[in-house]
């Protein structure tokens, strides 16, 4: 059962808060920009074009969009951990609303915030020689929304296993950073050792970034077909959503 009013409350609240806190917006946008230019420019001197299929900066750009989404969606979702104990979520959990609506609202607000941020990063693409047309922008928007939803829902699954704030650095070090490095964001999966390559295929971020590359740099190195990318994003989104709803129902 979906109660739209509940979804609306949760999404509205996150949006109002996001735009009232200007500092948060600046700092979340700074990270991908720093990676793109500082890491990208350094690496582009080291990586020959035949490995990435194109100039390294251009190869990296979809990875940086993925990174923006990964961090913002995971952060948005794991705020549930302290919200559960100290915050507004407790107020929502004692309201007569279905757990599915709560999870959906939380996943959608993570999706919305991540999409906004990733689309803002899209603005710098001409600086590195990517000039997307309107159709490409629309295609990117679709992949970005799907990827944001999948990662937000995954974040809720992660959050529902943890109780305290101390777990925050654990999640950062053992989930978020490996997810970023094993996503093909910085290097094509084809060049990875077999074991790591298999690990990367379990990561939804891998497919999101590959999907973005299909649209933005179709002439570069690609790991999967575009349809596989999209299908996996949709299936993982649904799976994470229902799994986290299940955990929420069981836990309370």
């Amino acid at each position: 059962m979906i109660e739209l009013r509940v979804v609306y409350v949760i999404v509205m609240r996150e949006l109002i808060k996001f735009f009232r806190e200007k500092g948060r917006l600046v700092s979340t946008l700074a990270r991908p920009i720093i990676w793109l230019f500082f890491v990208g420019m350094g690496m582009s001197r080291l990586v020959p074009q035949d490995i990435t299929g194109t100039d390294y900066m251009r190869f990296l750009f979809p990875g940086i969009l993925g990174m923006t989404i990964l961090f913002s969606a995971i952060f948005s979702s794991i705020s549930i951990i302290w919200d559960k104990e100290f915050g507004f979520l407790k107020e929502i959990l004692v309201a007569p609303v279905s757990r599915f609506s709560i999870v959906l609202g939380k996943a959608l607000s993570g999706t919305l915030l991540s999409t906004i941020q990733a689309m803002l990063i899209m603005i710098v693409s001409p600086l590195i020689g990517i000039y997307p047309e309107i159709g490409q922008i629309a295609g990117c928007l679709m992949v970005i929304i799907l990827l944001s939803f999948s990662i937000s829902a995954l974040g809720i699954v992660i959050a529902s296993f943890y109780e305290s704030l101390e777990s925050f650095s654990m999640i950062m070090n053992f989930i978020v950073m490996p997810m970023f490095f094993l996503s093909g964001a910085m290097y094509p999966l084809k060049k990875l050792p077999v074991l790591l390559k298999y690990a990367a295929t379990l990561n939804p971020l891998t497919y999101g970034i590959d999907g973005l590359r299909h649209i933005l740099i179709p002439y570069g190195i690609l790991d999967f077909s575009f349809y596989l990318d999209i299908s996996i994003l949709i299936v993982s989104s649904a799976a994470f959503l229902f799994f986290s709803t299940y955990i929420f129902q069981r836990g309370h």
């Binding site: 806190e21 100290f86 915050g87």
Partner: protein, 327 residues
């Protein structure tokens, strides 16, 4: 009339700890029920079960006739809650906080507007309604949370240590509002506290220790368990006065530290009698009524406020957060 809150042999275990131990409660409608006990006695665990946030290990709980596990949805519609730690959104205004609450509980737009106005006026917050909550004092935030808890016409309002960390003036202000609620908003108030003076004004009190109810009744009934009041008096000649009183009053009387102690009496009846007996002999009289702390002391051999240093640390952090809002 059926009790509005009822628990039957309620038990909740955490790992090796039995937080709630065979709890049986009956709370009458439109009363203020105090749940009194030291930190860690199981008060918050009980509230969490009643609020459907926690499942009992065994036993059952009912609110408004609905089972807290099987009928959680209906229970949630029947209750309003003010948690120990504030769950207001500090970046939103007072009005927005109440408005979002009304959406969650499915109130119509017009009805919500009316209700928000009515409650903000009732809680003396109306002129601050468009300010972000982070500019509110601790007392104002609590009043806003009470208002929010009442938005959806609940039958029971839970208050978990509502005055913890508030200064005495804000506490008094909050109490003034709470005491009117059963009449003004047709609601039963179930509150936990470890402040004695707060428990004193409840209609009924249950004292809980180590997850078990060790006494229950109206505050006056409970205090009578300790054995009545103590009258202290000074006379011109204490020894002689004691002798005279002993012949006329059946009570334990002793002389200590230059005062006569008359134990276990009804003070308001006993004092005039003493004065009648001793006449001009009496220099001064004072009366000591037993407190709920004396009840707790008698039942457990401990003071209720004896917390571990850790508890006090936690409490001071909480008080700090409530005042300056780091939540």
């Amino acid at each position: 009339m059926a009790p509005i809150i009822k628990t039957e042999s309620l038990v909740r275990d955490f790992d090796n700890l039995r937080a709630v131990d065979n709890l049986n409660l009956d709370v009458e409608e439109r009363t203020i029920f105090g749940f009194l006990g030291p930190n860690g006695a199981g008060k918050t665990t009980t509230i969490n079960i009643l609020c459907t946030l926690l499942r009992p290990t065994s036993g059952r709980a009912f609110i408004n006739g609905y089972d807290c596990v099987k009928d959680a949805h209906r229970v949630r519609s029947s209750i309003g809650i003010v948690f120990q730690d504030t769950t207001l959104d500090k970046d939103l205004t007072a009005y927005e906080n109440l408005l979002f609450h009304s959406y969650l509980y499915g109130l119509g737009r017009e009805e919500a507007k009316k209700r928000i106005e009515e409650l903000l006026i009732f809680m003396d917050l109306y002129d601050r309604k468009d300010e972000p909550v982070k500019r509110f004092s601790g007392g104002m935030k609590r009043r806003l949370e009470v208002a929010r808890g009442l938005m959806h016409y609940p039958r029971v309002l839970f208050l978990d240590e509502p005055t913890l960390g508030l200064d005495p003036q804000s506490r008094a202000g909050l109490w003034e509002h709470i005491l009117r609620l059963p009449e003004s908003h047709n609601v039963t108030v179930f509150m936990t506290t470890h402040y004695m003076d707060e428990a004193e004004v409840c209609n009924r009190v249950a004292i809980i220790d180590h997850g078990r109810i060790i006494a229950e009744g109206a505050p006056d009934e409970l205090k009578r368990m300790v054995g009545g009041d103590v009258v202290y008096l000074k006379a011109k000649d204490n020894k002689m006065a004691r002798q005279i009183l002993k012949e006329r009053i059946s009570a334990e009387i002793e002389v200590r530290d230059g005062e006569i102690f008359v134990h276990g009496v009804k003070g308001d009846v006993c004092i005039p009698e003493i004065i009648r007996i001793l006449g001009e002999q009496v220099l001064s009289v004072r009366l000591q009524r037993p407190t709920l702390n004396d009840v707790f002391l008698k039942l457990t051999g401990r003071q209720i406020r004896e917390g571990s240093p850790e508890d006090e640390f936690k409490e001071s952090i909480r008080a700090y957060r409530r005042r300056f809002d780091r939540a």
